[in-house]
């Protein structure tokens, strides 16, 4: 359950960006890579339980998932990693470069001004 620590980090980042006291946050937009190791449902659960009594009370956590994509250094082709295999599906080479999938980013927030 490292989602608890992750939810706390998200809250800290959001609170630093609230423009004025009394403003409330209605939406937190998060980008989450498929390979980030975070279970979205667990993160939602932790987030919802943390926000009451804060300027984020009632805010929605909108998670945008990003697929894991890689580039093969051998055959120079790009592909999506859909299983747990990190071998190139075209030439079976293990020398691949991960292009996306590990993102864990607070993208933007929606504020309701006081």
């Amino acid at each position: 359950m490292h989602e608890l620590a992750i939810a706390k980090n998200i809250m800290d980042i959001v609170q630093e960006h609230i423009p004025a006291q009394g403003d409330t946050v209605t939406i937190v937009r998060l980008t989450l890579g498929k390979m980030s190791g975070v279970v979205p449902e667990a993160l939602q659960f932790c987030f919802e339980n943390m926000i009451p009594g804060t300027p984020l009370e009632g805010a929605k956590l909108a998670i945008e998932e990003v697929p894991a994509r890689a580039f093969c250094m051998e055959c120079q082709r790009e592909f999506e990693i859909e299983t747990v295999s990190f071998l190139c599906p075209f030439c079976n080479s293990p020398s691949i470069k991960l292009l996306s999938g590990r993102e864990m980013l607070v993208n933007s927030i929606e504020i309701e001004e006081k």
């Binding site: 359950m1 490292h2 608890l4 620590a5 992750i6 980090n9 998200i10 800290d12 980042i13 959001v14 960006h17 423009p19 998060l30 390979m35 980030s36 190791g37 975070v38 747990v84 295999s85 990190f86 071998l87 293990p94 020398s95 864990m104 980013l105 607070v106 993208n107 933007s108 927030i109 929606e110 504020i111 309701e112 001004e113």
Partner: protein, 221 residues
């Protein structure tokens, strides 16, 4: 009103981890983060490593557990400095974060130290997510856990530099298939340095010990 943020969720942790890594490199101290399931044999493996390099390399250990000081007590019998981190006050976290590691590591007398080993909380999921500031991540797997773990916990094997297959003395009893585990490791991360050994007898340790010596040399070059 929309406010763009575009900030990594773990940016604070990652930045501190990078600072820690640079700091210990400047001191010529190698930091190894050892991860693995509960019961994989982390503590015994650390003991065996320290004993094998006694008189040559000075170690200190940071022990991570949710609760208890059992492992720290075991290791302090070796006469080395040990700091226990209990994550119970931090929501019982199942991983170690860079800030706790930094504080623990700075509590050692760094003058006479060569290597710090972090024994992370027993878990193949959460510790993979948090950069501790170590120079090398090592994951230890024991034969009773089976050959499929790299496929079930790919992130752990992606963030690691080396893998230790422990308790190889049980290979026959368990019908453990080295070909399958090797294939699974290749599928997930072909670049992993691999060590096959048992902490019980020390069989297979020399290759690992050479690796530790070599990593320390690299840090100091």
């Amino acid at each position: 009103m929309e406010i763009k943020i575009l900030q990594k969720v773990l940016q604070a942790n990652d930045a501190l981890a990078e600072q820690t890594r640079q700091y210990f490199k400047s001191k010529g101290i190698l930091v190894i983060n050892l991860m693995g399931s509960p019961g994989a044999g982390k503590t015994t493996f650390i003991s065996r490593t320290i004993e094998a390099l006694k008189g040559e390399i000075n170690f200190a250990v940071i022990e991570g557990d949710i609760t208890s000081t059992i492992d720290a007590e075991r290791l302090s019998r070796l006469g080395i400095p040990v700091v226990q981190i209990n994550t119970e006050p931090f929501d019982g976290a199942c991983h170690l974060e860079a800030t706790w590691i930094k504080d623990a590591a700075l509590s050692f007398d760094l003058q006479n130290l060569d290597v710090i080993i972090i024994e992370n909380v027993g878990n193949l999921v959460c510790p993979a997510e948090f950069d501790t500031g170590a120079h090398k991540n090592v994951v230890i797997l024991s034969t009773p856990e089976g050959e499929d773990k790299p496929l079930k916990y790919p992130l752990m094997f992606r963030v690691s530099h080396a893998v230790v297959i422990n308790k190889i003395d049980l290979r026959e009893i368990l019908d453990y298939n080295l070909e399958v585990i090797n294939q699974n490791l290749t599928t997930v991360n072909d670049a992993l340095e691999r060590f096959i050994l048992t902490s019980k007898t020390g069989e297979g340790f020399s290759h690992w010990i050479d690796w530790v010596r070599n990593q320390l040399k690299i840090i100091r070059d």
